[in-house]
Symmetry: C2
Subunit: 357 residues, 2 copies
Amino acid sequence: MNEKYCIIMAGGIGSRFWPLSKNNYPKQFLDVLGTGKSFIRSTFERFNPVVPAENFLVVTNAAYRDLVLEHIPELKPNQVLCEPMRRNTAPCIAYATWRIKSRCNKASVVVTPADHLVTNEVEFQKVISTGFDFVEQPEHANALMTIGIRPSRPETGYGYIEVDPAKQPKHEHEVVEMASFKEKPDLERAKQFVAAGNFYWNSGIFIWSLEGITNAFHNSLPDMEQLFESGAHLFGTDKEQAFINEKFAQCENISIDYGVMERSDCRYTIPADFGWSDIGTWGSLYTHAAHDNYGNALRGKVVTADLKNSVVNIEPGVEAIVQGLDHCLVAYRDNSFLVCRLDDEQRIKEWVAELEK
Amino acid sequence: MNEKYCIIMAGGIGSRFWPLSKNNYPKQFLDVLGTGKSFIRSTFERFNPVVPAENFLVVTNAAYRDLVLEHIPELKPNQVLCEPMRRNTAPCIAYATWRIKSRCNKASVVVTPADHLVTNEVEFQKVISTGFDFVEQPEHANALMTIGIRPSRPETGYGYIEVDPAKQPKHEHEVVEMASFKEKPDLERAKQFVAAGNFYWNSGIFIWSLEGITNAFHNSLPDMEQLFESGAHLFGTDKEQAFINEKFAQCENISIDYGVMERSDCRYTIPADFGWSDIGTWGSLYTHAAHDNYGNALRGKVVTADLKNSVVNIEPGVEAIVQGLDHCLVAYRDNSFLVCRLDDEQRIKEWVAELEK
């Protein structure tokens, strides 16, 4: 049985959750749902029954290093890999992969975003274990696996994974070949995907063997492979960070989906159903949060009146009165606040840019 | 010519302006209109051309003593009279009156709230001087004068002063006899008042001679007169505050309007028109503030979108995005914020009470 590793990608800033998430405190460190745990903490706890704590690697920006160790005190400092700048998911995963390679030759690896929601952790662990079992079989050494979520609605905010209708799974937890990735669709196409039944949400969770992902970098991103290979003897030593700081900027800014998965002919999916959301928008948070009798999702010390179908999220120490709104978002954190219509939340980035002018 | 005194009543907490005004920072110390000056500072500057700085007395709660001296550094500490508790305007005015009596026998006195707006200060000073001239005439020694504001609209938020139609003023700045006070009317009555032409808004500004107000307390509130008379030898000494702290609670909790004016048969009014508002509500602030192209009155660092006819008031150091509202109020100060419909602002007290439960 291979050693099992978990790479948590935690470099994002989740700017869509302004003002809760900002550069100095990104989404993965927030507890926007009020579970008592941040997203990154929940992510660690979700994988820890399957992967031992010492085999986690969190890739993040240097600025967030201390926050990561604060949220996951089980980690040793050298388990937090610091990117000097954001370079998308392929370089992030390559860095962590070569770190693992400095410690062992044979491993199974799961890669996950740090800031997603999973509500059924038992089912989740079954799915991840199924994936590990699959990639540990010698004939699947080169398999690159994704977790595909059975869609519950024609969501336009997610990418989709297509499976050949003839190769659809016949029983639970069955691993199937993956046909193609589909970009975020418009509503019409999303409805077609859901109706067709052979499309799954792309969860951004990957499972592969160390050998498999190494071969994939070799075949699909040889420049990146060579860059990390040139420093292979430095990984796990006190020269690693200097090497990364010097070389990381040379990596192509490309996602693992485009850089590796799209170019592979050995792709698999486990269709799964463990209550997943990327909580990428206030609207998705609204969907997953508990509601009062008027359909409001409330966090913090707030008195409401004539308020319906709205999200109110107030940091501790602040008190609020919110009245007379319907389908709105009211959020306060760190000397910034936002009042807007939930339907217009995609414009938050634009307003924040104007505020920062 | 009598010495001239100005009593500024600054004990209120202006709770209707929550969260800008709170117990620890009431409305009179705010600059809600963005003039660069607090209400109490503007009040001082408005009277100072008519009354020398050393003849101002500010009556306030002990908790606001330092704030008063900060906003009006021209005052000596002993010009700030500290009430141990709120006891309405009659005891407040009695206290200041007996303090003046400890310094002189003959004076003309103007009494004013600390937190009103006047836009035409030149006209204002003419009206006040006219009032002083009137009460300094020996035959008017017992005159109790009010300033009546010519109503520009059927306002239901103000009390009214009625003048006998036969005794209406024939020229500007003419002092006329006052017939009666009218409580805040409903809209129908307010319309009748404005149409009739012999009703004026009660500005809460009074002018009288020291002799006149002393006689009025003697006739109308003899218990209160006796209480202050019993300490007359202590006023202006270092025993004054102890006396006030001990005795003030025994004063009847009654307004000068009910306690003195209603019981007097020697009442006068100067109908005036100097751009006055008590800025008693967010709505009146909205009326008097500058507006952007969409009818919004904005204060602070705020980015707006799809915002109309609204008030946004954000304290320095905080930034806000406000979008998608019409005729709303968004205010933030001191870790508290409020979002509500302007039409419902009279419920702010109720919500604040709920928040403080």
